[in-house]
């Protein structure tokens, strides 16, 4: 079991080394929409929507996630965990955001997102467990 300090360092190391999907948000009904992104292993498609649009600093807010399989069908592939950081300076979010199952198929609510500086943040969403686990990684430009 990896301790919390080591886990944080591993997270940042992974952020720094791995490329992410493009992070340009689309505006939709006043929200900022990201994706759909394919997961690293190709198992999932993830579309995320931030309640704070455009993403700004120092405000705790929620996101929603729509998860689909590679064919586009909604899939409840929990658990979902999320974190974000600015890998080039070793920054992580000041909060520990959490995902919970939403009302519809493939829908998740992510609460406790907070960016505390402007710049390009790397968001990582871990989906599923065991052999079915996969990772969605993308960038968010925060003003």
């Amino acid at each position: 079991m990896v301790g919390p300090a080591k886990a944080t360092l591993l997270f940042l190391g992974a952020l720094a080394l791995t490329p992410a999907a493009g992070g340009l948000a689309r505006a939709l009904d006043g929200a900022a929409v990201y994706g759909p992104f394919a997961s690293r292993g190709g198992a999932y498609l993830a579309t995320l929507r931030s309640d704070l649009a455009p993403p700004t600093i120092n405000r705790i807010h929620s996101w929603s996630l729509k998860l689909a399989d590679a064919s586009g069908a909604p899939v409840d592939a929990g658990p979902v965990t999320i974190d974000a950081g600015v890998p080039i300076i070793g920054r992580v979010m000041p909060t520990a955001a959490r995902a919970r199952k939403g009302a519809g198929a493939g829908e998740f609510v992510i609460e406790g997102m907070k960016f505390d500086m402007a710049g390009r943040w790397r968001v990582e969403v871990h989906v599923g467990s065991g052999p079915a686990s996969d990772l969605v990684s993308f960038d968010v430009d925060v003003k």
């Binding site: 300076i89 920054r91 520990a96 406790g112």
Partner: protein, 394 residues
């Protein structure tokens, strides 16, 4: 004007060299300036844990309490003893001195209403619960809850105001009742402190002029050449790292960062947020506790506080830079006496005695560092009205 600027001015006169205008801000820089501008500061966010947070009668009551030295074991220490209005609500000391001597620098309360976490290590999640900790701390006010009740009971004005706001005082010996009074004292003090908000500084008036597309006129809205160059350095992600933490209209993101400022000789007291968050989560006076007026679903910062991770070790809360030229000494233990030395810390800091510093070597010249310090002086502002000692302060 420093030596470099004088030389430049002389060369301009002698050789007709025109210094590059520091007035030209790009659209991206203007947006950065808007982000720092006090005109972009909303009213303080609500505090659902305190039902009288925005009650003007509670604020008036809280103002009396804030300046009352009777709320200490020796009758000589008030909140205002360490948070003096004339010193931008700090005390000018390295570490605060109440009944005893603490090991922490007293931060300003100007703009504290915008914080989510209180004390340098963030061990409290509301202004009212922070006030309680300072009142009970044996080194600060050393006030027992029972004595707090008796101070109110012995004062006609306090009895009247307390009854109007909260009901009757408890009988002597009622410990739970004494805690309730204690909590209500803290909540009233918070109601007052929420009104100690940052006011416009010369920097803000300069930015207002620039955003309006006009040239600043008059001494109260102009920045000197050094100040403008310092502001440029402050904004530049290539030069400085300031905006990573000192961002937004309060010049702080209110979160916790390791900048290698820990005392090399101390151990557990320097853990910072790593220890503070654990205390906040367990605090009986936190947002989820029985003394809070909030519903659990309103305690969002507490609910999603990051409580694990290497970044928390040795991390202290980034203070606001508003009025920074007047709020020294600096850092959590006040060991940096003057602003020049703060700048020097950022210029030379490598590594940390504890944990991992976020700082990288800065790419600024000595002159740019001086100009950064000079710019920070433009963030001074007067206090808001009606927050000084009331006429009956003891």
């Amino acid at each position: 004007m420093n030596g470099f600027s004088r030389l430049l001015a002389v060369m301009t006169l002698l050789f007709g060299l025109a210094p590059a205008s520091a007035d030209d801000w790009s659209p991206a820089q203007l947006e950065q300036l808007r982000g720092l501008w006090i005109g972009n500061l909303p009213p303080p966010p609500p505090d659902p844990s305190n039902r009288v947070a925005d009650d003007s009668r509670a604020a008036a009551f809280g103002r009396l309490l804030f300046y009352d030295r009777r709320l200490s074991s020796n009758g000589r220490v008030a909140c205002a003893s360490c948070h003096e209005p004339a010193r931008a609500f700090t005390d000018g000391r390295a570490v605060a001195r109440g009944v005893g001597v603490t090991d922490r620098n007293a931060p300003t309360i100007i703009g504290a209403a915008y914080n989510n976490w209180f004390f340098w290590d963030g061990r409290k999640d509301s202004l009212w619960s922070q006030a309680l900790a300072s009142m009970e701390n044996p080194l600060e006010m050393n006030l027992s809850r029972a004595k707090a009740v008796e101070v109110l009971r012995a004062d006609t004005v306090y009895r009247r105001e307390y009854r109007a706001l909260f009901g009757d005082l408890p009988a002597r010996g009622d410990a739970d009742g004494a805690t309730r009074v204690f909590v209500n004292i803290g909540k009233s003090i918070e109601a007052f402190e929420r009104r100690v908000t940052p006011q416009a500084s010369r920097f803000d008036r300069y930015v207002a002029a620039k955003l309006a597309g006009r040239e600043p006129t008059g001494a109260d809205e102009k920045l000197s050449l050094d100040e403008e160059m310092g502001l440029r350095a402050f904004l530049s992600v290539e030069q400085s790292q300031c905006l990573r933490c000192h961002n937004g209209p309060l010049f702080t993101n209110g979160t916790f960062h390791n900048i290698g400022s820990q005392n090399r000789k101390a151990t557990s007291s320097e853990q910072g947020r790593a220890a503070g968050v654990t205390k906040a989560l367990a605090d009986e006076f936190n947002c989820r506790g029985k003394w809070s007026d909030a519903r659990p679903d309103q305690c969002v910062e507490l609910e999603f506080a990051r409580s694990e991770g290497a970044q928390l070790v040795g991390a202290f809360k980034a203070p606001s830079l508003r009025n920074v030229a007047r709020t020294g000494p600096y850092f959590h233990d006040g060991h940096v006496r003057v602003l020049d030395d703060v700048i020097w810390h950022y210029r030379t800091s490598h590594g940390a005695p504890l944990g991992q510093s976020e700082l990288e070597a800065a790419t600024m010249t000595g002159t740019e560092f001086d100009q950064l310090r000079i710019f920070l002086g433009s963030l001074d502002s007067p206090p808001p009205r009606d927050v000084g000692p009331p006429s009956r302060a003891r």
